[in-house]
Amino acid sequence: MSSDAEPGSGGAEATSGLDREGKADRIRELLATEGDAVAANTRGFNEGRYESTGRLDDYEALKEEARSIKEDAIERLPDLIDEVRETVEANGGTVYLADDAADANRYIREVAAERGAERAVKSKSMTSEEIEVNDALAADGVDVVETDLGEWVLQLADEEPSHIVAPAIHKSREGIAELFAERFDPDDPPETAEELTMFARERLGELVEDADLGMTGANFVAADSGTMLLVTSEGNARKTVTATDTHVAVAGVEKLVPTVEEFSPFVELIGRSGTGQDVTSYISTLTPPVDSPVPDFDDDGEPLADGTGDDREFHLVLIDNGRMAMRDDEELKETLYCIRCSACSNACGNFQSVGGHAFGGETYSGGIATGWEAGIEGLDVASEFNDLCTGCSRCVPACPVGIDIPWINTAVRDRINRGEADPSQLDWAFEELVPDEEPGGLDLATRLVGNYATLAKWGHRTAPIANRLADAGPVRAVAERVAGIDRRRDLPEFANESLVEWFEARGGPAVPAAEATREAVVYPDTATNYVDVERGKATVRALEALGVHVRVPALPGSGRPPLSQGMVATAEAAAEDVYAGLAPHVDAGRDVVVVEPSDLATFRREYERFLPPDSHERLADASYDVMEYVFGLLESGGDPAALRAPAGGTGPVASGKRIAYHPHCQARTIGVGEYATAVFERLGYDVRVSETECCGMAGSFGYKSEYYELSMDVGEPLREQFGDTDRVVVAPGTSCTEQLDALLGAAPTHPIEVVAPRE
C-alpha cells in the first residue's frame, strides 16, 4: 500500500457488501477502465511463461524439487527460525520475529527513530504492503519513498497494486505521462516509455542519495547462513541497500529455506513462471550487513572506499501475522509454499480481464490470494473475491511449487458457506430439489447450482413443462432476482429420453462381451445423460464401431457442481456414491469412459481428497476421456476406417475437414486435451486449437448475473480466434459449448460427434 493510502481503500472493500448489481457495476467499470491494459500485460506474461519454461529441459523436475524444498522448510519452520536468528546474529545483524503487523511496525519505527531516519527508501515488497509499514513510518514523520518504478507511480497516484509482481499494469503509458505532468509540472514533460523511465530514474536517484534507511523484502532467506535473496530487474533494491547504512528486510516466516544451495531451483523458476523472463536482471544474494562502502553523497570528496569498512546495521524482521496458524491448518498450509511469482494471476481468465483490483483482497491478488487473505485477514476479506476463482484449474500446472490453488479456493468457499449461513432462510420449499449435505440457510443460488444433478433429473422427468417454463420471461425474471441466473443466458434444455433410458430401450450392448476387444462403461454424467444425449449416443456408436462391449449403467452425478460452489461435504458424498457404483465394473476389468471433461478431472484430481488412496488410484487409472480412449484404441490396432473421416471433395463440403477445437480447461490440466487433436489428425482432419486458457463460462460461473459480462469478456479471445472461421467448431465441455454458442452464434459439438459413425 502506498504511504498515503487510506486504510481500507483496497480493491476488496470496493466490492464489499455489494449486492449482485453493485458487483456487476464494479466489474463493468474495471473492464472499461483497466481491463485492456491488464489483459494485454497478463496475457503477455502468460505467453512468456509458456515460452520460457518451454526452454527448460527439466521443468517438471525443477518444480518437484522446489515443491519438496518448500514442504521440508514449512515442516521445519520453527527450527529454521531459531537457526536464522543464530546465523544473522553471528553476521552482526538482528532478527526480530513479529507476531503481527502492529508488532512489526513498532519495531521498525524504533529502528528508524534510533538511526534518526528522515527518509526511508524501499524496494518492492508485498509483505511490507501487508503490514502497511509506510503508513506507520509516515505517522512518525519519516518520508517513505517507493523506488520500484511501478510502485512509485502508484504512490504518486495514490492507487493500489493491481498485480503482485507488476503493480501498475493497470496503468497505461499515457496515464503515467499525465500523472507526471500533473505532479511535477516539468518544462519538457516526458512522454515515451524511455523518457518516463529516465525522468523517474533521475528523481528517484536524488531521493536515494539523501536516504537514511533502506527497506527491502526478501524472496527467500537461507537459515544456514542468514543469506537473503532478492529478485529484481531495475536495480532499485541494490541501490536501496548500498546507499543507506541501515537495512531493514521484511519477510514472512515462510520465506525461510534451509540452505543457500536450495535457492537454485527457485531462481530458475520464479522469473519464468511470473513474467516469462528466464531470470530477472538482478538476483541479489546478500548476507548482511553487506560489505559495500556507503557512498557519502553529502561529503562526496571523500574516497568511496577508504578501506576502513562502514558501520552498517541490518535488521531482519520476520513476520508471523497468521502464518504459523496457517501452518497448522490442513487446507491453508499449502499457501505457505507460494513464492509470489504471479503465474496463477497471469494464467487466470478472470484475472486477465479485471486484474487485482477486483480479484484481490487487502494485499494479495489472483488465485492464491484466497489462501493468503483467508489466513492473514480472515474469511470475510477472502469472501469478497473468492467467487472469481471458477476452478478452471489452469493455474495448477503454472504454479512452480504445484499448489492446488482451486482446492484452496474451494475449501475457503466451503468455510464461507458454513460461516455465513443464515439459518432464518426458508429452505423447506426447496428441500426436494436440493438434497445436499450443507447447512440450512446457504445462499439459494449456490445450492441450486450445487444440486444441478438433481435439478437436471427433475427437469428431464418433466421436460416439456420444465423447458417451456425455463424459457418463459417471468420465470427467468424470478430466476434472476432470486437465484441470480442471468436472463441473457440460454438455459440447458432437458431431454425427454435420457442416455441411460435410450441405451436400455435399444436393448443394451450391441457388441457381445465375448466378441469384444475391451469392455467399457460410459459414465452418464449429468449433462450427457439429461441434456446433451446425442454426444452420449455418439460415444456408444464410436466405441462399438471399434469393437468395445459398452454398458451405460445409471450412476449418480460426480459432485463437480457442488464442488464448484464450495459444497465439499456434498461433493464428498457424491464421490463415495459414484465409486460405489463404478467399483464393481472396475473390479470386472471394465474401463470407465467419460464424455464430460470436468467429471473426469474430478475423478482424477479431487477424488484423491475424498476416497481412500487405493480406491482413488483404481478409479483414476481405469478412467479415460472419451477421445483419450479412442486414441488408445486406434493405437492398439483399432481400425480408423470404422470412424468418420472428413468429407472428400472441395467447396463447402470440404469445410467439414477443417476443425476449430477448444479443449476444456480442466482437460488440459489433467493432460488429456490433446487426444482429440491426435484423433482428428489421425483421421485426416485439419485442426486449429484455441489458445485461450478458459472460455470464461466455467460451469455455472457465466450464468450468474453479476458475472455475465466478465464471463463474456474472458471469452473474447475465443471470439477473436474463431469468430470468422469456416471451420467446424468443436468443444467437449458442456459449459464451453454454451459459451461458444453465445460468442459465435452457433453451438459447437463434442469431438466424438464428429468422428463417430452416423446412426
Binding site: N91, E174, T197, S233, G235, T242, V267, T275, Y282, L286
Partner: protein, 190 residues
C-alpha cells in the same frame, strides 16, 4: 568450464544485448579501454573478483580512476569491475558487494564493463549456488548475479537503465590452454 560453456555464455549475452570482447589477459587493458566510456571509474582487479586476478597480467587502463571519490562515481559514465563467476546457461555474472566498492561502481553508472575469467564460467545456476553456499556460510559474502542491463517495463514499454546501468560489456579473459578455441559468438567454440 568447457568450450561449450563459453559458447553458450556468449550466445546468452548476445540475446541480452550485452557486448563481449574476448582475449588473453595481456589484452585486458586494451579491451577495457575500447569498451569503457568517459569518465570511467573502477575497482582494481583482484580487489574486485577472484584474488588471483591481482597476480595475472590482466590490468585496467590508466584512464580508469581506481580510487574514486563519491563525486567521481556520481560523474562517471562507466564503471569497471571484475566478476567472480559467470553462469553460462543464463549469461549471468556474479558481482561481489565487497569492501572495495564493486557494487556501487557497477551500479551507479550508465555502462558497466565487467572483467571475467573464462576459467570462472560454470555451466548452470545450480553450479553457481554450489559455489555460493560455502562462501555465504563461511565468508558472509554478498553476491549479485547480474544478467544483462537494468530493465523495467513499468512505464509502458521495455526500457534499459531503470536504476542501474543501461548497458553492460563483458571482457572475457581466455585461458591460455583454451586459447585455440574460437569465441566469436553463439556459433563459436564447438
Amino acid at each position: 568450464m568447457t568450450l561449450a560453456d563459453t559458447s553458450t555464455f556468449a550466445g546468452r549475452l548476445a540475446d541480452l544485448g550485452v557486448e563481449v570482447s574476448a582475449g588473453p589477459p595481456e589484452e585486458c587493458a586494451a579491451m577495457v579501454d575500447a569498451a569503457a566510456g568517459d569518465p570511467a571509474v573502477g575497482v582494481p582487479l583482484g580487489r574486485s573478483g577472484p584474488d588471483a586476478l591481482a597476480d595475472s597480467p590482466a590490468s585496467l587502463p590508466d584512464r580508469v580512476e581506481t580510487e574514486p571519490t563519491t563525486a567521481d562515481l556520481r560523474a562517471a559514465h562507466t564503471g569497471v569491475t571484475a566478476a567472480s563467476l559467470g553462469v553460462a546457461a543464463y549469461g549471468s555474472v556474479a558481482l561481489e558487494a565487497d569492501a572495495a566498492g564493486t557494487e556501487p561502481v557497477s551500479l551507479f553508472v550508465d555502462r558497466h564493463v565487467v572483467v571475467l575469467r573464462e576459467t570462472d564460467l560454470v555451466p548452470d545456476m545450480a553450479d553457481a549456488f554450489d559455489w555460493l553456499g560455502p562462501r555465504s556460510r563461511d565468508e558472509s559474502v554478498d553476491v549479485v548475479f547480474a544478467t544483462g542491463p537494468s530493465a523495467t517495463a513499468d512505464m509502458g514499454g521495455l526500457v534499459h537503465g531503470a536504476h542501474g546501468p543501461k548497458a553492460v560489456h563483458v571482457v572475457l579473459l581466455r585461458d591460455r590452454d583454451m586459447a585455440e578455441g574460437s569465441l566469436d559468438g553463439p556459433e563459436g567454440g564447438r
